[in-house]
């Protein structure tokens, strides 16, 4: 109901500036269905207008519509119809009577009382009658009305109230009073007298009773006095109690203060104790450690361990972070001074010891150095490293304790080992060179010796150009078996060089990283027993593959610091020049070696890239690759130059040009070397340049050659190149292969056409002339009427080529072809077959022209196709 009320107020009355005061849910009597609301509303503006509105809820949706409005003053009668029993029905009489049935009695009663209220309030003159309404309801409504009057927003509610109705009580009393005197109405005077008499009687009685009560008042006063004194007493006692309590509180407070003081003291003692405890614990160095530091034998492994732990303890004790105040303590200062002394003395001792160890190692190792004859080997330093590794932690300690002597030690190590490595690497490369320089067997030693001699003299006398080209020629054209074995040997030596260099370099690098603790993300904390395990592993793997050794240890040190590189380049200072020296030596020995080196060293560098980018070996090898690449480019350039400079043989038939077969050899070798290499692109580029040069120079030689026709030079060489490309399946040369094939066919055809003209030269010219005429527009039948091409002329020409002549011509052509072509490419049969075919088709062409241009002349050539075929068979049989 409140919801509806709210909605009605909002939707229906607020727009009209009215306020809803009462609402009842009703239906018209008789018509049950039609439900509507009867509302009582007052305008919000003055003078207040009260109206009763019938609001209906529209059939669709929740909107409400005013149906009928009456002013309150129009209301004449309200009939509650329930004086006897309660009923929800009631009637409102305006200009006519409206009968309503409320949804329940309570609502009806509320509404009627609301109406009553409104009537009481706003209608002064002519109020409607309320009949058959429970009078209680109306009374209640008045009371309730008084109370709720303030509910509607205040202010205006102080309404004029000059008239007051007699209440029912007063009325009844009055009536009762009057009824006691029967004459009251008839004789007012007597009544008045009676009344005044009664009044004076009552006055008298009143005064009496007042007087009687004086005594009692006195008593009362007395009692009051007594109670006052009593109260005063009690108050005093209470005050005393309070004073007592105050005292107790003060005492309690004092006690509390004392207690906290005691507690504070206690905790302070505890703190002091623990501080002292930790201080002593941190600064205490066990006598065993002190002893180890002072006199531990640094060459005894177990003593080294003791020393290590002692040094660690010392380091720890010294590194303890103390409160500045604590440092002022005498004891602390003394202890620290003692540590200082221990440290410096131990550092000195350690440095001196290691110094002598390094020097000793440098000497010892060089003494044990030996030369190996078969394979060049680099001595391994595993044992030295293993000897030194136990000191690794001490070195770390030293780095922290005495950085200058640490650096000095590093320097001593570098300078000693540097000399050792220098010698070793030098010997190593010398050995490698020596192996390359010696012959495995005595076979062909003379030739080889010559080759070696020339290379050696080249190596010494900075190599004149003349010499180098002659050397190239040897490598290019001699093509002897020793080349193969030499190359295999070189590959083997190169492989072993690479596989020797890498472990030595990597092991040394790992060692100095660990020993001198150079890497930034130092793994020094857990350097311990596993360190040695890894070294052992290295020993086992070193003779195996190049990449197999210790992946795990290297992954931990991703970035090799510049410090490491610097130290490595100090240690291996000679490696780079020696390596470059070797590369150039190998290149001079046989330029093809550069190909092996390019592939091999690149592969090594690539292989390392992931794990050891920036390692000393990687950078050194990378620069080597650059040099090798340069040598390789030089090789290609030299090849190209030798192709360009080749002299055309004057008096022999041309055949396959030497540079074509040399390229075949080169490509074959290169394919095996570069198989699967990352360097393939370089080779492909070189191929491209070389093949282009070869093509150009084949054409050049074709033009320049005097003995062999140009076409023959071209198609033979192109045929050969095509076969080479097809055989080696070099993918990057696919277009060149097609080009070679195309040119081969083109020049083959050109050759055939060109040389077929020879056996019947005049006949050929004659018919060419006829064709030219026909092409110019002369009708075929009319050619014969031209003087130069008359039948007589034709007969004359034909006469010149009798069977015998033709056969002779073909014979000599065959011989010529044999002479032109080389044995090697074996194209005789191909060319001759083509010539036979072409000759027959030429014959047919002549016949056809005769038939067309000299119809019914009965002229034919002096020989038939059968004759020609017979010639061919005869030629075949005669060879």
């Amino acid at each position: 109901m409140t919801a509806i009320r709210h909605t009605l107020q909002k939707d229906v009355f607020l727009p009209h500036d009215e306020r809803l005061l009462g609402v009842v849910h009703v239906s018209k009597a008789g018509k049950k269905k039609k439900v509507s609301f009867l509302c009582a509303a007052a305008s919000t503006e003055k003078p207040v207008q009260v109206s009763i509105v019938n609001v209906k809820k529209s059939d669709k949706g929740d909107t409400y519509k005013r149906r009928q409005t009456w002013e309150l003053r129009e209301l004449k009668l309200v009939d509650g119809r329930d004086d006897t029993k309660e009923s929800p029905e009631f009637d409102l009489h305006f200009e006519k009577s409206y009968k309503w049935v409320a949804s329940n009695v309570a609502e009806k009663s509320a509404f009627i009382s609301c109406l009553w209220k409104l009537c009481q309030r706003y209608l002064i003159k002519k109020r409607p009658d309320f009949v058959n309404v429970n009078p209680q309801l109306l009374e209640e409504a008045v009371q309730v009305g008084e109370l709720t009057r303030t509910l509607p927003q205040g202010g205006e509610d102080v309404v004029d109230e000059e008239y007051q109705v007699l209440t029912a009580q007063e009325e009844a009393d009055l009536e009762k009073l009057i009824s006691q005197c029967d004459f009251a109405v008839s004789n007012a005077e007597a009544f008045t007298e009676q009344l005044s008499k009664d009044l004076s009687m009552l006055d008298g009685a009143n005064i009496h009773s007042i007087m009687a009560s004086e005594e009692q008042v006195k008593n009362l006063m007395k009692l009051l006095e007594v109670s006052e004194t009593e109260i005063n007493r009690i108050e005093k006692r209470l005050e005393r109690y309070e004073g007592l309590l105050e005292g107790v509180r003060e005492q309690m407070e004092q006690m509390k203060g004392k207690d906290t003081l005691i507690q504070m003291q206690n905790t302070n003692y505890k703190k002091l104790l623990s501080t002292l405890d930790t201080l002593v614990g941190q600064l205490d160095l066990s006598p065993g450690h002190v002893k180890a530091l002072q006199e531990g034998d640094l060459s005894n492994p177990s003593h080294i361990l003791d020393c290590t732990s002692a040094a660690e303890a010392l380091q720890q004790a010294m590194g303890v972070q103390l409160h500045p105040g604590l440092c002022k303590m005498q004891a602390v200062r003394e202890q620290q001074k003692m540590f200082e002394k221990l440290r410096s003395s131990f550092a000195r001792r350690l440095a001196a010891h290691l110094n002598s160890v390094f020097v000793q190692q440098g000497h010892e190792m060089s003494e044990t150095l030996s030369h190996h004859a078969l394979e060049p080997t680099l001595p391994k330093h595993y044992s030295a490293h293993r000897d030194l590794m136990p000191y690794a932690e001490l070195m770390l300690w030293l780095k922290g304790a005495d950085i200058t002597s640490f650096h000095q030690l590093a320097q001593v190590y570098t300078s000693n080992l540097k000399r050792l490595y220098e010698r070793e690497i030098k010997d190593f490369f010398e050995a490698a060179k020596a192996i390359l320089g010696t012959k495995p067997s005595a076979v062909d030693s003379k030739k080889f010796g010559k080759l070696m001699g020339s290379t050696e003299s080249l190596g010494k006398s900075s190599g004149s150009k003349m010499r180098s080209s002659s050397l190239l020629d040897i490598a290019d054209h001699k093509g002897s078996n020793p080349d193969i074995t030499d190359r295999a040997k070189f590959e083997r030596v190169l492989n072993s060089i690479m596989s020797e260099l890498e472990p030595v370099c990597m092991v040394e690098q790992d060692f100095i990283i660990k020993f001198f603790h150079l890497s930034s993300d130092s793994t020094a904390t857990d350097v311990g027993s596993d360190e040695e395990d890894q070294i052992e592993e290295g020993v086992v793997d070193a003779n195996g593959g190049m990449f197999s050794k210790g992946h795990t240890e290297r992954q931990t040190e991703k970035q090799v610091s510049s410090e490491v590189r610097r130290m490595m380049s100090d240690l291996f200072g000679t490696m780079e020049p020696e390596l470059h020296n070797f590369i150039n030596f190998a290149d001079k020995m046989d330029p093809y070696n550069s190909m092996y080196m390019l592939v091999k060293i690149s592969a090594v560098v690539m292989g390392m890239e992931e794990k050891d980018a920036g390692s000393y070996l990687a950078t050194t090898l990378a620069t080597s690759v650059v040099i090798v690449k340069r040598n390789f480019d030089k090789l290609i350039q030299a090849k190209i130059q030798s192709i360009e400079e080749i002299k055309v043989p004057k008096n022999k038939r041309c055949g396959i040009l030497p540079f074509v077969s040399s390229f075949e050899e080169f490509a074959e070798l290169a394919e095996t070397i570069f198989k699967g290499s990352e360097r393939r692109a370089d080779l492909d580029k070189a191929y491209g340049r070389m093949v282009r040069t070869i093509f150009d120079n084949v054409e050049r030689v074709g033009l320049e050659h005097q003995k062999t026709p140009q076409d023959v030079v071209l198609f033979e060489n192109y045929h050969h190149l095509n076969a080479v490309f097809a055989r080696l399946k070099i993918t990057c040369l696919e277009t060149e292969k097609k080009e070679a094939r195309h040119k081969y066919k083109q020049h083959l055809d050109a050759y055939v056409i060109n040389w077929l003209g020879h056996p019947m030269e005049k006949l050929n010219h004659f018919f060419e002339g006829i064709e030219a005429r026909v092409a110019q527009g002369v009708k075929a039948e009319e050619v014969g009427y031209q003087l130069a091409f008359s039948k007589q002329e034709l007969r004359k020409v034909i006469k010149e080529y009798p069977m015998k002549e033709v056969k002779k011509g073909l014979d000599s052509l065959y011989k010529k072809v044999e002479k032109h072509l080389c044995e090697e490419e074996n194209l005789n049969q191909v060319v001759w077959r083509s010539m036979q075919e072409e000759f027959i088709s030429q014959y047919k062409h002549f016949e056809d022209l005769i038939k067309r241009c000299y119809p019914e002349s009965g002229i034919t050539l002096e020989f038939t196709i059968t004759d020609i075929l017979q010639f061919f068979s005869d030629i075949a049989q005669s060879h």
Binding site: G479, D483, S661, E823, E824, N826, W832, R833, I840, F872
Partner: protein, 205 residues
């Protein structure tokens, strides 16, 4: 591997491919030479190939003359038949006509070479296309037996027996050459030579 050929030292065997057009002479040759199978058909006129192979441990060269199957005039073939030392006479097992043509080829070869025992192999190619077979193995084998030559079925596509036919033929050629050097007047005796002498088996490497 890098050494140049030395013609006087290395033996050279000249093989001729003969047979009707489209039976796969070039396909067999290319497969043997370059290990490739060319699907597109382009009629050959004539082409020559050379390859180094190892025959029973000895390095030799093989010259292959791949010839035209379609030739207007048979006489044109005389010359290159003449140059051949051994013949692979190829037909397609899927084409009866190509099989029939082998007889003509053989006849011409024998005429031109004037030699009954010239190294010669009858080759039935395209044996991978067995569902299209028109020439039975029995027929072909019978024909080969009649000529007293071996019969081999090959597939240039699957490479089946490709090496075998070339190597078998080379063995025969080599053996023939040995016999001839053994008796310098071998040429005269060619026709009278006993067939049994050619039964020597070859080993393919």
């Amino acid at each position: 591997m890098a050494s140049k050929p030395k013609p006087p030292q290395m033996a050279l065997h000249k093989v001729i491919m003969v047979g009707s057009g489209g039976v796969g002479k070039s396909a067999l040759t290319l497969q043997f030479m370059y290990d490739e199978f060319v699907e597109d058909y382009e009629p050959t006129k004539a082409d020559s190939y050379r390859k180094k192979v190892v025959l029973d441990g000895e390095e030799v060269q093989i010259d292959i003359l791949d010839t035209a199957g379609q030739e207007d005039y048979a006489a044109i073939r005389d010359n290159y038949f003449r140059s051949g030392e051994g013949f692979l006479c190829v037909f397609s097992i899927t084409e009866q006509e190509s099989f029939a043509a082998t007889a003509d080829f053989r006849e011409q070869i024998l005429r031109v070479k004037n030699d009954e025992n010239i190294p010669f192999l009858l080759v039935g190619n395209k044996c991978d296309l067995f569902d299209k077979r028109q020439v039975t193995i029995e027929t072909a084998t019978a024909k080969a037996g009649e000529w007293n030559v071996p019969y081999v079925e090959t597939s240039a596509k699957t490479r089946q027996n490709v090496d075998k036919v070339f190597f078998d033929l080379m063995c025969e050629i080599r053996d023939r050459k040995k016999e001839e050097t053994a008796k310098p007047d071998g040429k005269k005796n060619k026709k009278t030579k006993k067939e049994g002498k050619r039964k020597k088996k070859c080993v393919i490497l």
